[in-house]
Amino acid sequence: MVEQSLYAPVLVITLAALATYASRALGTFLSGKISVESPVIDWITCVTYALLAGLVVRMIALPIGALAETPDWWRFAAAGAGLLVFVLSKRNIGISVLAGALVLVALGTLQI
């Protein structure tokens, strides 16, 4: 198993919360003073998107915890089902997430 608790969860959570509130505080401070259509804001958006895309692909392809013990194709099938329903339902995100989740439940129950 991966070595855990290199540091206390409370410490990580507190620092993550402060790092998050920093953006809210700065946004409050700058509100009305900056245009949100500036190149710097665009850059922030791009970094956020790239980081999140990387995280999502990693959580599907190289997951941690209980999901790490499932066959890859289960997760790919669930993600694929979500995508398929998303296209068929004309971008109904709720139904699509539900469909993907149900596929995973089904595969996990049948243990194929």
Binding site: A16, T20, V56
Partner: protein, 259 residues
Amino acid sequence: MTNAPLPASSAFATPQAAFWGGVREALGVPMLVMGASFLGFGSMIRDVDWSVWHALYSTLSTWALPGQIAMAEMAYSGAPLISIILAVGFINARLLPLVASLLPHVRRDNVSLWKYYAISMLIAATSWVGTMQRLASLSQDQRLHYLTGYGLLLYTGSPLFTVAGYLIAGQVPQPVTLALVFLNPLYFMLLFLFDLHQPQKVLSLLFGAILGPALFLIAPNWSLVFTGLIGGTAAWWLGRNGWVRQKVSKELKKGRDDG
């Protein structure tokens, strides 16, 4: 996303009514979407063997889900503290433009400054999307109340779903727990597909999706931070040059029209 003016009945009788109007309008789809996400987060926290109090503390103190998920993911994988904080900081930096663009709509002269810093805590992606359009249809003295009601309902509902997700994950059959933990990756993946209009965003997603796993194989602990910085900056730079070209051609056209 319609441009048609909202009916006059959409305005409230008093500021207090605006507060409760905000509460009412956040119930339903916004609460459901948010709730499902926090349900998944609660299940995930159990999956990484943290306590229910950790889950609760994170939701109440951070209240910005993608960063919370990255935090739990990276802490479990043993990433260094600095790397985790940077990743969370970059992910949640998107709150800066959300807050900066929403607050001018509720600003009034006689409201003390600290209230804006407090209410910024209630601004996240869901509350921004839900209120940004609506605020314009309300009178100035009702907007802050409306936003407070809307944000507060989502904020106070989130810990309930977080705890529920944590508790459910231990009680249901394993396949259901797996699906709960898988909710957020699925949801985020589909959410990205809504946003495929701007070239910069498309490129960012593409670079991130490729660099994420690739860099993980080279430097697992720092891969997310580098994925964001390298992929995001490259996409921004490429898109920006495209934008500059467009602007130049617009100026040229303007010059022609003037001449």
